[in-house]
Symmetry: C2
Subunit: 447 residues, 2 copies
């Protein structure tokens, strides 16, 4: 009998959880997402459970009262702390767990991102990760000197160049460039400090970085893109992908597609971990799990529910909430609106039923059941080559994490699917990934 | 007898200290500036001493081997951690001390700065401060899509607008906007969340911020600019100014000038603290202090010394090091080169003597003497209305801080000039500044 495949586990800890009504749950402190103590508890609990990483998604458009009534999000998913500052603070009160957050390539400068994540990698002793995204919301664009978001092609072209600049800056200092030779007065070897001299279509960046090579060589790179250009960025550079497929067949196809692209970049299939997101409602019985799910869904106000559809489909507040989902008149993001409409037609959903589906787990995959049900599903995905692990998106925090640790983790461990001790000190070691080689190493010898 | 005026104390903790040869000092770990433990020790020591704040200056141009020989800085002042991530980490291991760092208005977006500093203010329970600067170095410009730095007028115009946008975003959420009403399902009062809708020459920013009003109302604003436009930004918005005058007469004039500008913005003279920078070499005797000073200066290699002049005067490596300072052929920053040349002529300095002056304290004011000498000088400045406190820039860290705490602080306290306990929990409270009022408060009632 072969030993089962080990899975990687991440924990998404944005807001008070992924459910739109999380803050109304009896267990929730509705003000917690502005408190460091909330995140400290979550990160330390996830670390005690030996999870690979905590993750903070990001996106910073907030709609206000001058927008259509169906647009206004009055949930807890409006207030939070900024991810990079929060992860940095958490680095000081944790020792092993990875610290990953999103930063957009659309409204940042590559020098800033390279520098800040390199610094986090040093602060944490090799536990930093950057989730590479592009920004597609107009609400976010309006905070950065634009009226509309950038076109898909343009922002992905910018993203691809952005990532190459950041990786280049992370190679500025060779590992052995610092000499620290007090006697001679030579602080570092000038020949091992490199200017990048990047001059491309979107960026002109000379370098070098003012931060020495980091414990992980470079921070872990994460990607989530499902479309063509995102897949290529992932195949070329990502260490981890938070994929979003909702069913096993799509997940298998996605996994095969992405892993199949690695060879052309000289990468092995094991050099990239695919960790689909999942929101879990677990109970000791199926009835208990279903009750937890129904309780939260009953707490979603219609106005709030509509706002979860607005981002893709536009304002639906003029239609009957328990009637069929209409063809959207002014979809905000056409491709996403089309997907949602197809889902509604296929499952014959009302507007209320559609927004509940989205509001329950921010549009991600949802599992409701006993520990055995949940782990059966996870194991099936891993054995079918649909996932290397999972990115947990608890409906309510910290409750959903505590329940996972109490109920699901023992079942995963009983089946030998998840570690009981960390393998190493860095996130890279715990994910089983190799240290990258600096592009300049051996250059002088060759030249 | 009136009680003496209480001073404010800040501690600059960039690199391994402000002296160019700090890393060669016998006490120094030359790799410390890349280690969190180094800064944690410094911040916790400064907090135990009840200082107001630790401060990280910033500027991110690093010259490389393709530049003139006289340009290359091979000191420890090339490697560090990124200030915002570092202060965020320190927020988790300190409880009272202020956490202040520089961020440039030239190469950042106001939304990012507003958001990150608001987050740091929450993480730290009200201890964040932002030092507002513009960037004037070409080396930095070349990391941000430019060949040359921006003109003075343009970058100060941008800075002034930048600060107004950031202050506006910090008012997004009124204090009582969050309602957290689980029963009704109303998370916040939509009428108390405000879009800024800024549309100016340099920035178009809608808002609102996704972070609620911070413990200090808004983070502390710090400024250091000495020229006209910087003074106006300081008079309008700054809570603290790190002024750089080198002698008492200039400092008195600067103090009178800046404090005199406050009234036109409706501000009291006490609402802004002027804290000139000072680098202290202290000994139990004057001889001991002078030996410490001489030891470090003897460790500055000529090539390194020249690089400290390059940033202003250009490459002087072709001139005899012990000869007179020449009229620079290609000054990098004309106004600064002119000041340095005037200093050299006035004091009849050689190139070596000029760079030693700069290299000993990064161009700031230097005090060498016994605790009584040092405190006499400080007291004279405070009583002459030249300073409200001081920003300490130790030559070597952590040694310079430890010596200050051991030798100078008792003398300051013996004269009743510095606290023995913190007055409050926030930086604002400890500086004795009042809480700002949100611009929207009472607006609805008036309208």
């Amino acid at each position: 009998m072969s030993s089962p495949k080990q899975i990687s586990l991440g924990l998404s800890m944005r807001y008070l959880g992924y459910h739109a009504a999380a803050w109304r749950h009896p267990s929730a402190d509705p003000d917690a997402a502005s408190k460091f103590s909330h995140y400290r508890y979550i990160a330390q609990t996830a670390e005690a459970a030996k999870m690979d990483m905590v993750f903070l998604a990001d996106g910073i458009g907030l709609r206000t009262k001058d927008e259509p009534p169906g647009a206004l999000c009055r949930s807890h998913q409006t207030l939070e702390l900024e991810p990079l500052t929060l992860l940095s603070a958490l680095s000081a009160v944790t020792s092993h767990i990875g610290l990953v957050s999103t930063a957009s390539t659309t409204y940042n400068e590559p020098y800033h991102i390279a520098r800040k994540w390199a610094s986090l990698d040093h602060l944490s002793g090799g536990r930093a990760g950057w989730n590479i995204v592009t920004s597609w919301s107009d609400a976010e664009a309006r905070n950065f000197n634009r009226d509309k978001h950038m076109d898909y092609d343009l922002r992905y072209e910018r993203a691809a160049e952005f990532v190459e600049v950041v990786k280049g800056l992370w190679d500025s200092w060779e590992e052995d460039a610092p000499l620290f030779d007090k006697a001679s007065g030579i602080f570092f070897d000038q020949s091992k400090l490199h200017a990048l001299n990047h001059d491309g279509k979107h960026f002109k960046v000379k370098g070098p970085l003012t931060i020495k090579r980091t414990p992980q060589g470079r921070p872990i790179l994460v990607q989530a893109g499902a479309a063509e250009q995102g897949l290529e960025i992932a195949a070329r550079s990502a260490d981890v992908v938070y994929a979003a497929p909702l069913d096993l067949e799509s997940a298998k196809a996605y996994y095969a597609n992405l892993k199949g692209r690695l060879a052309k970049y000289g990468r092995s299939r094991d050099s990239l971990k695919i960790m689909p997101g999942v929101t879990i409602f677990v109970g000791r019985t199926r009835e208990e799990a279903r009750e937890k799910f129904d309780l939260l869904n009953s707490l979603v106000e219609p106005q709030l529910g509509l706002s979860y559809l607005y981002g893709q489909m536009g304002d639906l507040s003029a239609y009957p909430i328990d009637g069929p989902v209409p063809e959207p008149e002014n979809p905000v993001v056409k491709s996403m609106a089309k997907n949602l409409l197809a889902l509604a037609r296929r499952e014959n959903l009302t507007i209320r039923q559609l927004y509940t589906t989205i509001a329950a787990g921010f549009g991600g995959r949802i599992l409701v059941g006993t520990p055995k049900d949940i782990v059966d599903d996870m194991q099936a995905w891993v054995e079918a080559d649909a996932a290397d692990g999972f990115n947990l998106c608890p409906p309510v925090l910290p409750l959903g994490l505590d329940e996972f640790v109490e109920l699901v983790l023992p079942e995963l461990r009983a089946r030998g699917m998840f570690r009981t001790e960390y393998a190493g000190q860095t996130l890279r070691e715990n994910l089983g990934l190799t240290q990258p080689v600096n592009r300049y190493v051996g250059e002088a010898a060759v030249a």
